[in-house]
Symmetry: C2
Subunit: 190 residues, 2 copies
């Protein structure tokens, strides 16, 4: 009936560390030996917990997917009548400096998806969930189907696009710029 000493390393630990490595080195950058060194063990440990490198990557992807879906559902919960605020909240959370560490992961996964069909499928699932959740909010604000779809698309294109742009490009008044864009996207909403 203990919990600390035994189970020194479990799959979850490897997965989290691998996710960090994915974020700043891309999928090709997650090397099992480097990972082992970072966790202060050797390959021997890794190949006990995982079948092979692909096994780890698959888990990383799954881990990411579940986290993203949980997050978007949480961020788009709105009490009736406050849908507009909720959209602004989403823009705030994803486009601003919050969620700092999420951005590199998001970008790495999306780049990964360009070269791996399985990954592309998962990203598509996440995108669909985000798109639908946000579209619901626009619909609740009185926009028609087409307009809701368009703005929802714009929300995510903007959010991911902004994280792709180099920081200096945004200039010093990034905050003001952000607010103005949010205003434009949520125009004519009740």
């Amino acid at each position: 009936m203990e919990k600390a000493p035994r189970q020194m390393l479990d799959r979850a630990t490897w997965i989290k560390s691998a996710t960090a490595m994915l974020a700043d080195s891309g999928p090709e950058g997650v090397r099992v030996e480097l990972l082992a060194k970072r966790l202060a063990v050797t390959k021997g440990s890794f190949y006990w917990h995982f079948k092979d490198r692909q096994d780890l990557l698959t888990e990383v992807l799954q881990f990411w997917k579940e986290g993203r879906i949980r997050d978007i559902i949480k961020q788009t919960q709105a009490s009736p009548g406050r849908e507009r605020e909720q959209i602004l909240h989403v823009l705030d959370v994803y486009a601003a400096n919050r969620n700092r560490k999420g951005i590199p992961i998001e970008l790495a996964v999306r780049d990964w998806a360009r070269r791996d069909l399985q990954v592309a499928g998962v990203v598509a699932e996440v995108d669909a969930t985000r798109f639908n959740q946000t579209r619901r909010l626009f619909l609740a604000c009185g926009l028609d189907e087409a307009e809701s779809a368009a703005r929802s698309t714009l929300v995510y294109a903007y959010v991911f696009g902004i994280s792709l742009l180099t920081p200096e490009t945004l200039g010093t008044d990034a905050e003001a710029c952000r607010r103005q864009i949010a205003e434009l996207i949520t125009r004519d909403l009740e």
Copy 2:
């Protein structure tokens, strides 16, 4: 005083092929031996034309930068009074299916920039040029400084973001969606 037979392979040929390889395999994916095989020669040739792999990558980046700057200047030329059309033209060129092969390169370079300061610097230059050129157009349409900066930012965030989203997410009426977004971005312009 001849030009055809001699100089079977020049640097430009290697650079173009490497750019293609960069587009669909990332910077780590451009291998000199693979590249040589693709050009039906061996490494021996490569190391005659280039000092090393880094030399090639540097040239690829430079090649990309010059092309992008030339392109954005061309796309943002507007005769006085037709600036709004020109903005719509930019949105059309970059967000639609045209310029198909440019998108993977753009994404690969941007991902590359996340892990290489030199690359990040070049991307920043390109971004700045694009940003300023488009901002000029908005200013000419009567928008103030802040609004012009915001919309110019939105244009590129949208353009790059849309290429990051999975195609299926956009649904079947992508064209209508595109038009609606373009309408929103160019609202209140004279």
